[in-house]
């Protein structure tokens, strides 16, 4: 744990030291020439890129970004893409102040963040649905978004309050700081509602799933990638959490996975984003259980 933190800090420091020298930051006029590109146009693919790209931010996007980086590095052996975690907020700040070439965020970018840095460009590379699940013994199969909010806020504490049997509702949640939790709070809880302090907290999607599956009357939110037969998905406002429903917009608890750049992407950054949004990149996205963007 400590070692991890130290390593991450060292890594961030290296980036800070290196990048601060050469990259523009938000507020500075007219971004200087991108030192990472060999040629001035990004369109003239295939060409070869050299140097190093730093990608910092959301731990949810991180594993996907690593795969996308590996795929792109295969085409450009002289280019190194360094992907680091830190969280969505760190992703936004690193992109805004130019300490990273690309920031990652597994949530919408807040208006306040865009106000602070109008130069920030948001590139949606994939979408991830968040499903509401219960233990399979629960007889409720559908809830409204308001009911989901009421349950997680601790206002509805018995399944009989939402048309089910007389059974206490046990709320299971991720811990504070989790990107899935942040996205759930943003999409479902809104500004005022807070997840009840009485909730059982588990530190991973897998642990949440196990807890729900063995706890009668339990409810939780899970990333789509973790749905299986051990938990029962709940239809929210009539739509079951499926990729089709998320794609056509009828299932609404869907978060974007974002890449952030300062100003329009150029050079290697532009080429990598183009790769990600192209067929090869989106195939990796789909393979990892996320919804491709088209």
């Amino acid at each position: 744990m400590n070692a991890n933190t130290v390593l991450r800090k060292l890594g961030l420091l290296t980036i800070l030291a290196g990048a601060a020298l050469v990259l523009p930051s938000c507020g500075e006029q007219a971004p200087a020439e991108d030192v990472l590109q060999d040629s001035t146009t990004a369109e003239a693919l295939p060409e070869s890129f050299t140097g190093e790209l730093s990608v910092v931010g959301s731990t949810t996007v991180q594993p996907l970004a690593e795969l996308l980086a590996a795929g792109f590095e295969g085409l450009h052996p002289d280019l190194t893409i360094v992907v680091q975690g830190g969280g969505s907020s760190v992703g936004v700040t690193s992109a805004s102040d130019g300490t990273a070439d690309i920031g990652m965020a597994s949530r919408e970018i807040k208006p306040s963040e865009l106000d602070a840095c109008p130069e920030l460009r948001v590139h949606v590379i994939a979408r991830d649905g968040i499903a509401i699940v219960t233990d399979p013994g629960t007889d409720v199969t559908g809830l409204t978004l308001d009911q989901v909010r009421g349950i997680f806020a601790g206002e509805i504490t018995n399944w009989s309050g939402v048309g089910g049997a007389d059974q206490v509702i046990t709320v299971v949640s991720r811990e504070e700081g989790s990107g899935t939790r942040a996205a759930f709070e943003e999409l479902v809880m809104g500004e005022e509602a807070v997840i009840t302090g009485d909730a059982i907290l588990q530190p991973s999607n897998g642990a949440v799933r196990t807890t729900v599956s063995i706890t009668p009357g339990a409810i939780a939110f899970l990333s789509f990638g973790y749905l299986d037969e051990t938990t029962a998905p709940i239809a929210v406002d009539g739509a079951l959490p499926t990729e089709e429903n998320a794609a056509d917009g009828s299932y609404r608890i869907v978060r974007p996975l974002n890449m952030l750049t300062l100003g329009e992407p150029r050079g290697a950054v532009a080429a990598w984003l183009e790769f990600i949004l192209g067929p090869d990149g989106q195939a990796i996205v789909a393979e990892e259980g996320y919804l491709p963007v088209n």
Binding site: E176, I200, T210, T211
Partner: protein, 299 residues
């Protein structure tokens, strides 16, 4: 200086270097943890940290009283459940068991020490939690202090049992013979002579177990529920406090460190410092306690 003396000197320095190295590691970890925690002590304040019951890093609220209470209660529970069990094992192995049985039971108990804590956690999650859930009370989900204490009791069993057994066996045979010779029964001998003589060793065993209990992390996260609430009884019966969910100091750090930045991260290091101090105070108390008992006996 001849060659033999040279080897002596060399080895003396090598051993001294090992000892100093270990000391240095402890000091460095202490300094590092404290340095990282310092901004939290400054920015949040020691009083707010220690007495605040709300831990909501998103809203800049950092109170770890709930976690101190959680760690304290789960350790207390583990001691209540685990110490009698471990002592019973130790007494059986040292005083009662025939050699053949002892050679079978002792390795089995020692094997418990080799099981990774994540396996204990898993066992707790799928076996003990549903068992505890059987206690039919509103608000009881099985996840909580009781399940966690049961897991911990099993985890500290091998430490306490083997160290206590050693302490009991170290009591000279002549003590037992003298006691039996003046007509005491085996039970009286054990209670009045053997156990009091082994007291300081048994106390050290319990303290070792306590240290392990306070430091246990992953198994606790899996069964204790991790809710940031000061544990409270579910109804009029104060014992139901053990059915309450809780979060431990170690769990707090492990659950959140991956996301934490800035003051939040400092606050987690502060949690570590508090844990560090708690263990130091506990070890110090035990040391003082053991020391005094020895001194009394010598008098």
């Amino acid at each position: 200086m001849n060659r033999k003396q040279g080897a002596d000197t060399l080895m003396r320095f090598a051993f001294m270097a090992s000892a100093l190295g270990s000391l240095l590691i402890v000091v460095m970890i202490g300094i590092f943890t404290f340095r990282e925690a310092l901004p939290a002590f400054r920015g949040i304040g020691l009083q707010e940290l220690l007495t605040g019951t709300v831990w909501r890093p998103g809203q800049e609220e950092y109170g770890i009283l709930a976690m101190i209470a959680g760690s304290g209660l789960v350790t207390l529970g583990a001691v209540i459940l685990g110490v009698p069990l471990a002592l019973g094992c130790a007494i059986f192995l040292a005083e009662i068991a025939p050699p053949a049985v002892r050679e079978l039971v002792r390795p089995s108990i020692e094997l418990l020490a080799g099981i990774p804590s994540v396996v204990y956690g898993l066992f707790g999650m799928v076996v003990l939690v549903p068992l505890v859930r059987g206690i039919d009370l509103p608000g009881n989900t099985g996840f909580g202090l009781l399940s966690a204490s049961m897991v911990l009791a099993i985890m500290i069993l091998p430490t306490i049992a083997s160290v206590s057994e050693y302490a009991i066996r170290s009591v000279p045979q002549s003590f037992r013979e003298a006691s039996l010779a003046v007509g005491a029964t085996r039970w009286e001998t054990l209670r009045r002579v053997v156990l009091p003589s082994a007291r300081s060793g048994i106390l050290s065993a319990v303290v070792l177990g306590l240290g392990r209990a306070l430091g246990e992390t992953i198994a606790m996260i899996m069964v204790i529920g991790n809710s940031v609430i000061v544990p409270a009884a579910l109804n009029d019966n104060p014992l139901t406090i053990f059915l309450s969910r809780a979060r431990t100091l170690t769990g707090n750090v492990a659950v959140e460190i991956n996301y934490a930045t800035g003051l939040h991260q400092n606050a987690l290091f502060a949690t570590g410092v508090i844990l560090f101090l708690l263990i130091m105070v506990m070890n110090g108390t035990a040391r003082a306690l053991i020391g005094r008992k020895n001194w009394e006996r010598r008098r």
